[in-house]
């Protein structure tokens, strides 16, 4: 292999390691993590919002996805709310992204996906189901209203 080729390979590797380093930095230092395997949380049969600590604005949201809506459909939270979000499905695979946050989860029956999120800015955060789940999939949406 000639010199240019070796340089190209070294450069490509350096770039890839740099990118991967950034990913690890974001995960470990900035705590932007993807969901992991939860043990000890059983899939729930109904969705609801649980107030963990009103003063500290800590909430737990159990979000249940099913053909073709979310339960609860509309969630009201105060600005600054810190939320532990658990998501599961009652029937087929669904998914959601909460707009303008880093929350992006799949809802797979039998498993629970988890994300932690803070809502600092008041406003309406729309949720849409982003995994095909049957004929009315495009009607499956919800929202979080932060006030």
């Amino acid at each position: 292999m000639d010199r240019f080729e070796k340089n190209a390979i070294v450069l490509a590797l350096a770039l890839l390691f740099f990118f991967f380093g950034l990913v690890v930095y974001a995960a470990k230092a900035l705590q932007i993590e993807v969901p992991t395997c939860l043990t000890g949380v059983n899939p729930f049969q109904e969705g609801r919002v649980i107030v963990l600590d009103e003063g500290a604005k800590r909430y737990q949201v159990n979000l249940l996805a099913r053909m073709w809506n979310f339960e609860p459909y509309e969630i009201r939270l105060p600005a600054g709310a810190k939320v532990d979000l658990y998501l599961t499905s009652r029937d087929v695979v669904h998914g959601l992204r909460i707009n303008y946050t880093n929350v992006n989860l799949m809802a797979i029956p039998g498993t629970v996906s988890y994300a932690r999120v803070r809502f600092d800015k008041p406003g309406v955060y729309s949720i849409v189901c982003h995994e095909y789940c049957g004929i009315n999939h495009h009607l499956m949406a919800g929202k979080i209203i932060v006030e």
């Binding site: 080729e5 974001a26 995960a27 993807v34 087929v92 707009n99 880093n102 729309s126 049957g134 004929i135």
Partner: protein, 571 residues
């Protein structure tokens, strides 16, 4: 090499048959951009529902078309490189399995019995003919590798004990070894989970395990599409520009690195699901970055080969030589250049957006949004499709013994496609920053100003993507005119199997780079290491309950709808 009789029919039909389907597939693509933008308001058009059409679009374009063209190209390339004829018996078995399987799956999709999209995630379940059809297609595509190309290679080796493994044949072998490895997990998923569930032999299956097995197949699948295009870039493209392949060892190294790294990466499609440990997802992310390395090497080799060719044509300067490439040439075989260069330009964006997808936590910003759709229309819908369209037209003309007709249109087609797909890609990428989802008949809800679900911030981008899609379809129409003209032209010479083949500029033999065994061993060890725990986790800790089958119509398990009168179930 001349070719006639049954073999010629087989190779020709392996090109023409998927094309007939691709016309439907691309038409459905056009309907999708229109329906997503709300230009067509109804979710059902021409008797095809949106998600039924999307299943057809994904399956035909990404599974059927690709597999057929890859088999046809590999058949021709192995035959041409080893100078040995193929066995008609083997080819007929393969042909019957592939065509039969495709027709079965097409039946299920066209009758609306398989509205499950091309990823067929359970517990949504399709009619059994869909699954059996897919398996037959895949098995049929492997038959020539085991019963034709390997025996031919062994015979060739006996006659050429010191000859080097021909580069394109090495490429085809890497492609099909990879294909064979990944067909195993998806066959397990289909034969032990989906098919029994579909037939009612079992009540429930594990949907998480099914997903893990699917993506064990699903990501390497993209290299099954991509590698034949790379083989063309290495062995054909340099010749078209009148130059040489810059480096033969670098090309081999890239192919072999794909063999090592391209399989144990599937969890990068599962970053956002619970049930799998984040640590293993990060490991797969790392390997995904590693599998980008051979693509970087390829980018260098291809650019260097183009530069070498351009300098032979009088190109000068640091960058000025780019102007010397035959972008619009219609001379001889040079029209084919336009397909590769347009594909490569699209693939530049495909590579960059792909690294974003692979980036673990950054994936949270784009997973299942329109970003992903933009991404893979510049990869499989970009370089792969254009290379396959080009080579199909080329092979078809040779197999029929005719000149390519309407060459002007044939040269314009890839550039129209390039422009259209770029617009499409940009629109879909930007829309994704505002959360525009994929796999969604958005025109009937989110893009409809009259709907309570209206999202005004997606409106413009959805329309722009429709414009881009329409331009790309125009490119396809231009191609089709040339393709049909060539298909029905009167033969003027012997039918042949033939490719323009480039020599290498740097060509020192490196024995390790012609020997598949060590690389395959490392590959298998790496796969075993990377998948043992995730599969174990998918079967145990990750999941607490199995799921019964559903269809796309009703929010209750299928069994229940069959036992109770389905009319009584509220919708």
């Amino acid at each position: 090499m001349s070719i006639r009789g049954g073999l010629r029919f087989i190779l020709l039909s392996e090109i023409v048959f998927p094309f007939v389907l691709l016309i439907l597939g691309v038409t459905l693509g056009l309907l999708q951009v229109l329906q997503r933008a709300g230009i067509i308001k109804s979710t059902s058009y021409l008797g095809i529902e949106y998600y039924q059409g999307l299943t057809l679009h994904g399956t035909i374009n990404a599974i059927v078309f690709t597999t057929f063209i890859i088999v046809a190209f590999s058949n021709a390339m192995v035959m041409f490189s080893l100078k040995r004829s193929l066995k008609p018996g083997v080819q007929w078995v393969s042909w019957l399995l592939m065509v039969g399987g495709t027709l079965m799956a097409a039946y299920a999709m066209l009758t609306g019995k398989a509205n499950v999209l091309y990823t067929f995630y359970p517990p949504l379940i399709a009619h059994w003919t869909f699954y059996v059809g897919v398996v037959l297609l895949v098995v049929g595509s492997l038959v020539p590798f085991f019963f034709d190309w390997i025996p031919n290679y062994i015979a060739w080796r006996r006659e050429n004990p010191t000859g080097r493994f021909p580069l394109p044949v090495l490429g085809v072998f890497v492609t099909f070894i990879l294909w064979f490895i990944i067909v195993i997990p998806v066959s397990i998923e289909i034969l032990f989970q989906l098919l029994p569930l579909s037939l009612g032999w079992v009540e429930e299956i594990n949907p998480l395990l099914a997903r893990t097995l699917f993506w064990f197949f699903g990501h390497p699948l993209v290299y099954f599409w991509l590698l034949p295009a790379y083989i063309m870039l290495y062995s054909i493209l340099p010749k078209l520009v009148g130059g040489k392949l810059y480096s033969d060892p670098a090309a081999r190294l890239a192919l072999l690195l794909f063999l090592v790294f391209s399989v144990p990466v599937g969890l990068h499609h599962q970053y956002t699901e619970g049930g799998l440990s984040a640590g293993w997802k990060l490991w797969h992310a790392f390997l995904t970055f590693m599998v980008a390395l051979p693509s970087f090497i390829t980018a260098f080799t291809v650019a260097a080969s183009l530069e070498h060719g351009a300098r032979q044509r009088g190109g000068k300067g640091l960058f000025a030589w780019w102007a010397k490439l035959p972008y619009f040439s219609r001379e001889g075989d040079q029209w084919l250049f336009s397909y590769f260069i347009a594909g490569l330009l699209l693939f530049l964006f495909g590579g960059i957006t792909g690294i974003v997808n692979a980036s673990y936590n950054l994936n949270l910003a784009v997973h299942n949004t329109s970003w992903v759709v933009g991404h893979f229309h510049t990869t499989v819908g970009g370089l792969v499709t254009l290379a396959f369209l080009g080579i199909s037209l080329y092979m078809m003309a040779k197999l029929r013994g005719v000149e390519v007709k309407a060459k002007g249109l044939a040269v314009a087609a890839p550039y129209l496609w390039l422009i259209g797909m770029m617009v499409f890609e940009v629109a879909m990428s930007v829309a994704a920053f505002y959360g525009f989802p994929r796999r969604t008949a958005a025109g009937a809800s989110y893009i409809d100003p009259a709907s309570p679900l209206y999202h005004p911030e997606w409106y413009f981008w959805a329309h722009l993507s429709a414009g881009g899609g329409a331009i790309a379809v125009l490119g396809f129409v231009a191609y089709l005119v040339s393709f049909l003209g060539t298909l029905f032209a009167r033969p003027v010479r012997e039918p042949v199997v033939e490719f323009p083949m480039a020599e290498a500029l740097h060509d020192e033999p490196v024995p390790l780079l012609s020997n598949l065994r060590p690389w395959l061993t490392v590959s298998i060890l790496l796969i075993a290491f990377s998948y043992t725990y995730p599969i174990y986790e998918s079967m145990t800790k990750g999941i607490t309950a199995k799921s019964p089958a559903y269809n796309d119509r009703l929010p209750v398990p299928l069994k229940q709808t069959q036992t109770e009168a389905s009319a009584e179930i509220p919708r």
